[in-house]
Structure formats: structure tokens, C-alpha cells
């Protein structure tokens, strides 16, 4: 057996990791806009990237590296370095070469970017910014703030895992993301650090498993970005590992951060869990759950706190999977509003359902009544604020 205990140090929870955020003048008002994560030992790296075919320069740069260990990630906000072609990759080389030449401790640094698409990196500002880094500092919140774009709060978490033999390891992470979220992956970045002694291949395997029900189960707007990145760095400093415990702790980290992104969904006022059961198989349940979390009509009904179950039924029917009016049931939390072809809805039920919809967090369950397929997705509502943020993002 093992114990998983929440700690407060984010990406600095794992032994030997340092992080901070600085202001390089990319954002206005001297807000922090560049962060680093540094490990005093070289790390194995596992990664998941966007499925967007227009994947950004940092992802091209990473993929071109082949096998390597690293001890440093440089992250900037305000510019995504996407759709910038070969020049975008050359810009990264130039920035990282400057960094290595001024700082001998840094080995094989990675770069990660988020912000506007289609604009060259402001290289000089970034190179100047790296001179403000102090690699002996542990400021995980400052780092998490520096990578925010439309996020309204920073997103970090960490756990200490105590194993039966008395050994222990740590795992911590920071993430950003609030819009262009439909991870497969989305305009999200997540950096996870651990001192567990875990091989690259095992770590990659576990990361691939965990991403399915965490980042790949959320949606803010159904748009998959060019820059989505999850990087997991392990420096083995603890000398401890247990696969089940590691997987559970990693799930807790990624699940928490995934829901934090939805909770911070642009203009969102509620976090909704879509619990789909009774589908022909898990894949069909996933299609339905994601159709619900992406439906504009469902999202605006949520914003209006209108228990419009008809839109939910219509979205299930339009999802392109096996579904029948006669076998479908729909509930808001525990309140069943439609049951296998029976119109249960009346005024008293509407009052109860409307009260549930005023909660900041609730569950919409759809039982398709066919077989055992199930999937849980997470989404939010869409209101005026989403339009405001996205009608004028670049200015």
C-alpha cells in the first residue's frame, strides 16, 4: 500500500527542481510572461502534444531532437510561435543557444510557447528576459502566473507519495489553459515534475494512459490549438518508484489541472460533468459526452440556467452514434427529467432542475440504455464573456 498526500509546492515539490517567473515586457503592465523549470539533475522526458496538423515551432523543435535528456524548460506567454515555419524553429535555436552560452548549468534546454498565432518571437526581449532568471529559486506560483494568457487564476498542484517500504517520491505540476480547449491536446500547456525513479518508456506509457480521461476529456470551446503540450520530467532524485502509486498520483495531478482549466473556461460560470452510460461501447459514449460538452445550444442553456433537457436529447441524437428515444434517460444530478420515452418534466421538476443548474458544479447524466459503454467528459457554459474575450483577443 501507499499514501498520496497533497503538498503545496507545485513544480518545485519534486526534489532538485527549481522554477520562477519573470517579466520580459511581452505582456503589458510588467506582468510576468516568462518562466523556467530547472532540475539540478538531468531528466528523462515524456510528452504529449497537440494533434493539430499546424503544430507550433516548439513542438517541431522538440520532435527534431531525437533521444535526449534535459534539465531546463523555458516558457513564454503572449506569442505561440505557431505558423512561423522554419524561421520559428530557427528563432528557438537562437534563443536557446544564447541561454546555454550564458549559463553553463543548462543542458539541452526545451522551449514552450503560448499566445498569438502567426507572429515571429520577439527574440531579443526573450533573450534579455532569460538574464533575469535565478536558477536557485523555488517560486512555483510565480512560474505558473507567468505562463497564463486568458487564464484568470494560476493552476498548480503537487503530491507526496509515501510507499510501504518507507521510501517516497514527489510529483507536481503547473498548467495554463482557458480557451481553445479541446485537448487532443488544446491551447494548454502542462509541465509536470517528479523525483520518482522511473524510466522514460514506463513514464510515457503511463502518461498516454492518464491523458485520455483527464486533459483529453475536457472542452471549453471545441477548438484544438497548435501548441498543446504536456511535458513530464523525472530526475530520479528520490530513488523511489511504484507503478500503481505513480499512475494514481499522476492521474490526480492531471485530473485536477484539467478541471481547473474548465473551471477557468473563458467566461465560464459553471463546471459540468457529462456522465454518459449505456452506450454501445466506450468510444460511442465518448462521442456523446464530447458532443454534449461542445454543443453551443447546451452551453448557452447552461449559462441561462435553463433545464432545457430537449437540447440534451437533440445533441445525443445528432452525435452520430446508436441512440433511441425509447431507451434514453436524462438526469440533472440525481433528478431524472426524462426516462425511457416518458415525459416526466413538469413545473415542480423545472423548479428543482433550475436550482441544480444554479450550482457552480453539477452533473448531467445520459443513460443511452443500450449496452455498457461509458465515458465522463467535462465542460462549461458559454456566456457573453466568452464572446467578449474572443472577439478581441489579439488587442
Amino acid at each position: 500500500m501507499y499514501k498520496i498526500i497533497e503538498t503545496l509546492e507545485g513544480v518545485c515539490a519534486a526534489e532538485g527542481f527549481f522554477a520562477d517567473g519573470v517579466s520580459a515586457g511581452l505582456k503589458s503592465n510588467n506582468a510576468k510572461d516568462m518562466a523556467f523549470i530547472y532540475s539540478e539533475e538531468e531528466c528523462e522526458v515524456a510528452s504529449v502534444f497537440t494533434t493539430n496538423k499546424m503544430y507550433a515551432a516548439p513542438i517541431k523543435h522538440f520532435r527534431a531532437k531525437g533521444e535526449f535528456k534535459t534539465n531546463f524548460i523555458l516558457i513564454n506567454s503572449k506569442n505561440a510561435n505557431a505558423m512561423t515555419g522554419k524561421l520559428g524553429v530557427e528563432d528557438i535555436d537562437e534563443v536557446l543557444n544564447a541561454l546555454v552560452s550564458t549559463c553553463q548549468e543548462i543542458i539541452n534546454p526545451l522551449m514552450s510557447s503560448t499566445g498569438v498565432i502567426g507572429v515571429r518571437l520577439p527574440k531579443q526581449k526573450i533573450i534579455e528576459g532569460t538574464k533575469l532568471f535565478d536558477l536557485s529559486v523555488k517560486e512555483p506560483i510565480s512560474a505558473a502566473k507567468a505562463i497564463m494568457t486568458t487564464d484568470t487564476f494560476s493552476k498548480t498542484i503537487s503530491f507526496k507519495v509515501e510507499l510501504e517500504d518507507g521510501s517516497s517520491f514527489n510529483i507536481g505540476a503547473m498548467a495554463k489553459g482557458a480557451g481553445m480547449i479541446n485537448p487532443a491536446m488544446a491551447t494548454m500547456l502542462c509541465f509536470i515534475t517528479t523525483d520518482a525513479k522511473v524510466s522514460k518508456s514506463v513514464m510515457q506509457e503511463i502518461l498516454d494512459e492518464v491523458v485520455v480521461n483527464t486533459f483529453n476529456a475536457i472542452s471549453v470551446d471545441g477548438d484544438t490549438s497548435t501548441n498543446d503540450t504536456v511535458l513530464l520530467l523525472a530526475n530520479a532524485k528520490s530513488n523511489a518508484f511504484n507503478r500503481a502509486a505513480f499512475k494514481e498520483a499522476l492521474f490526480k495531478v492531471m485530473h485536477f489541472l484539467a478541471l481547473e482549466m474548465v473551471r477557468d473556461g473563458e467566461g465560464a460560470t459553471k463546471l459540468v460533468t457529462y456522465n454518459v452510460t449505456g452506450a454501445r461501447d466506450n468510444k460511442e459514449a465518448e462521442v456523446v459526452a464530447k458532443a454534449l460538452s461542445d454543443s453551443l445550444l447546451v452551453k448557452t442553456a447552461l449559462f441561462g440556467e435553463d433545464p432545457n433537457w430537449g437540447r440534451i436529447a437533440s445533441t445525443v441524437g445528432a452525435a452520430g452514434v446508436e441512440a433511441y428515444e425509447e431507451s434514453l434517460s436524462i438526469s440533472f444530478d440525481e433528478l431524472c427529467v426524462y426516462k425511457k420515452g416518458e415525459l416526466l418534466f413538469n413545473e415542480a421538476m423545472e423548479v428543482k432542475a433550475a436550482a441544480i443548474m444554479k450550482l457552480p458544479r453539477f452533473t448531467i447524466s445520459c443513460d443511452l440504455g443500450i449496452a455498457d459503454g461509458s465515458f465522463t467528459a467535462y465542460g462549461c457554459d458559454l456566456g457573453y464573456e466568452y464572446v467578449k474575450i474572443n472577439a478581441d483577443y489579439r488587442t
Copy 2:
């Protein structure tokens, strides 16, 4: 050769067709809420319905009829008669039986409904409403108004087709639709009448061909409704027909009405044509064109009149089809803003692009630069008004 001339009589343009709208008290303020289309001759019927698995009672009722000719369609707004199970179909039978018993001229009437999902039809009001119908009246605009829901204007069109031999026929239509529009089909209804002498099978074949690039090429919000219906009635009164002319006229009718729906998209301020070329095949071009017209980030950028071509590139990349940064080109009308990996965009170009985006109608072209696949889709922007309309639709 033949000539196609626009006329002004909508569904009453074809000889022998009558139509009107009345107020049965379903909408507030005595607004018209029930319409009929009546033909003095029995008609062959061709049809296209929603692909939504939760298709509404009127569609079940239609499909249960088998082979038949009809001379009457009863249409109500304000209630979709969807998710109402067997009772919903029985309600239709009851209404139509009452109608036939009071009016001997009516043969095999059809019913079509649009409005809120999941509420039983107000049968008595509807039966009382049918008593206000005068089958000798030709009021196509009044009928078109009666079937509106969130539409802000009525949608009708008609053409006279003059053939080389001196014969002629007419084709006219009315439609409704402004939201829940992602026709495959969508919360749209379209009723087309013709006096052409055309067989049921030929008419169905042509209708199926034409729907692909008209109603199935538009999107307001990516939500496919339970009630989408296109009905085409032909009474053969003109005794004239020419397949090419008929198809061209039908395309003109359906294309016009499809664009009218997008122009009336809930809260929409612009109608945008997405012209995708250079895809691996037509199907992949269609996927990209529809991804663009459905993307929330593209739609909100349109609303903000922000020439954010990066979001367009990102949406192309996320569409799941073959696409390369190095072969993609993007234009706003004639203005190319990104060309095969080259960042053309600068401040002068931004000013020009922003001016194009202020137009009520413009084209966004994406050449994927791979092969010859092409597709044109139509969409609109998404602003505060969309949220307002849909956050509180039922009240």
C-alpha cells in the same frame, strides 16, 4: 435552352397552390403561428429529413405513411413535437383527422412542427386554429411568417422556368431557420412547391443532389435539430418539365433560402463563404469548410472583425484531414494573408483585412495546396445576441 426568371409569389407561384398563415394563440401577441399549403391537385412528394436519431413525431408520422400523394401540409411553430414518443404521433393523427373531417377537399394531409422540444402539442388550440384557414387564399408571405421561430425575417423565393418549346413551369418555396442550424438537416423547415410535371423518383433524386451544396453546406451553430425537414410537392399542373432546368431552378431556390438562414443566423452580423480548395479530395475539403464555419474561435473573431488568420490556420490543422503549414494559403476576399509558409501579414495588410471583415458578406478562402478537392460552406459570426437568444430560448 431555358430561362429562369425570379417571381414574387413564394409557395403560391406554382399554379394551383394556395397558402396562408393564421394566429392560433401558440405565440404571444396574436402573432401568426400556423400555416397551410394546399394544392387543388394531389401532389407527388419528395423529402429530406434530419439525420438526428431523435427525429421528431412529424417525421415518424411521415415515414409510417408508405406510398401516398397529398394536397395539404399543416405547419405550426412554437412546439416541435419532438421527444414526445408515440403520444406525439397520436397527437398528429388526432389533429389531422379533425382537419379532414371538417374539410372534404383535404387528402392525406402532412404535418410539420418547429419550436420547443419535449412538450406535447397543444392539440385543441391547433384544431381551433385550422378552422381559420381559407383554402382559396394565396398569401405566401403570411404563411412564411407563421412558421418563424427565432427568425427575424421571413424567407420565400420563387422562379418561373420558360422552356424552349414555349411551355413553362414554376417553382417556389418558403423556409424557416436561424439557430440549431447544421443541416444534415437542421432546425429548419423548407416547403417547396412546383407545378412541373415530374415523377416522384426523379424529383427525389434531384432533391438529394441539390441539398448537398445548399442546406447541407450551411451552419449557424453546429447543432443538428430533431425536426429538419424539406418537403417538395409537385402537382404537375403546368404539364411541363426539363430536368436540367428543374435542377438549376431548384438549386437557386434552395441555395437562396440556405443563405437566407445563415444571414438570419441568431445574432449574426455577417454571412461568410468558406471556399476550400486544394484538399486531398472533396470530402476532406468539406470537412475543413465545415470545421471553419463551426469554429467558435473563428466565429467570435468574425464578430470582433479581427483578421485573426492564425485561428483559421489552427482550425484547418485541427480538422483531422491532410494539411501542411508549407502548402496552405489563406485569403480574405482577394487579399492573401498567408501563402505557403510565408508570413505576409503586416500592419498595412491588417488594415485592409479589417476593412473586408466589416463587410456584411465576404469570402474566406483556404487553399490546402495538396490536390483538387474543393467545397464551399457558408457560416456566420457569433456574438452577444446569440448567447442572449439561446440562454433563454424557452421563456
